[in-house]
């Protein structure tokens, strides 16, 4: 791996069309500015990895016989399981729904 030291305001070129500059450094966080042609897609590595891993999990889990959504919904709703409040990311804070259940 090529390793280069850069200061704030300095940049590197990848080929002649992609420029990555160091915009700011605060503590352990570096802000990068990226100039690239539109056909070059730039993602945070975690996003890419998360999708790869989710694909692998989906392929490994896929059961031969699929569940019936309506059946599962009927089973779920009478038990009064509270879905998380709208606006929270999936799997987000459980404390919101927990407090609303404790009153009943």
């Amino acid at each position: 791996m090529l390793i280069l030291a850069r200061r704030i305001g300095e940049s590197i070129m990848i080929g002649d069309q992609i420029e990555i500059s160091v915009v700011d450094i605060k503590g352990d966080q570096v802000k990068l500015g990226i100039n690239a042609p539109p056909q070059v897609k730039v993602y945070r590595r975690e996003v890419y990895t998360a999708i790869q891993e989710e694909n692998r999990a989906a392929a490994a889990a896929a059961p031969k016989s699929l569940p019936r959504i309506e059946g599962l919904l009927e089973k779920k709703s009478p038990s009064g399981a509270q879905p998380p409040p709208r606006g929270l990311p999936p799997g987000g804070s459980a404390s919101g729904s927990g407090s609303s259940q404790s009153g009943s």
Binding site: P38, N55, P67
Partner: protein, 150 residues
């Protein structure tokens, strides 16, 4: 024209040529898999994306609009151009579903939608640029919310 294929969920199956899809770059984590068949499942609203190269690899798909009426893939227009999608009428959108042992916890990946050009049968997995969409949306919870009109 039909062709005979081997599938994970249903064994040997005859499919129509138009069910055959090409993903020139594979899908993330399975870059070597380029040929698939899109199968209706016995259990709507699910579909199967069956690899034609590795019989044991098949993905469960769902139309995201089934449980998120507000879903739009929000991908970089360059990705649409890459598979020659010119308008919404050209495009099929699916999300890959992960079904754990407790199937009521099944999730759909809305951050990495599969986009398919229905005219050319060429598809790709894209990455949504909209931070609202994650890789694990719990289908039943979001469907229950939608039905309660919340």
């Amino acid at each position: 024209m039909t062709m005979k294929i081997r599938t994970k969920p249903y064994g040997e199956l005859e499919i129509e040529e138009r069910q055959r899809l090409i993903f020139p770059r594979g899908i993330f984590g399975f870059e070597e898999l380029r040929e698939f068949a899109l199968l209706d499942s016995a259990q709507p609203p699910f579909y199967w994306l069956q690899s034609l190269q590795r019989m044991e690899i098949a993905f469960v798909l769902i139309d995201p609009l089934f449980f998120r009426a507000d879903y739009t893939p929000d991908v970089d227009p360059a990705e649409l151009r890459e598979i020659e999608i010119k308008g919404p009428e050209d495009m099929l959108v699916f999300a890959i579903v992960t079904i754990p042992e407790d199937s009521s916890r099944m999730t759909a990946n809305l951050q990495g939608p599969l986009l398919i050009n229905r005219r050319t049968s060429v598809g790709r997995q894209s990455i949504s640029t909209n931070p609202r969409w994650g890789v694990r949306h719990t289908i039943l919870e979001e469907l229950a919310l939608a039905r309660r009109g919340a």
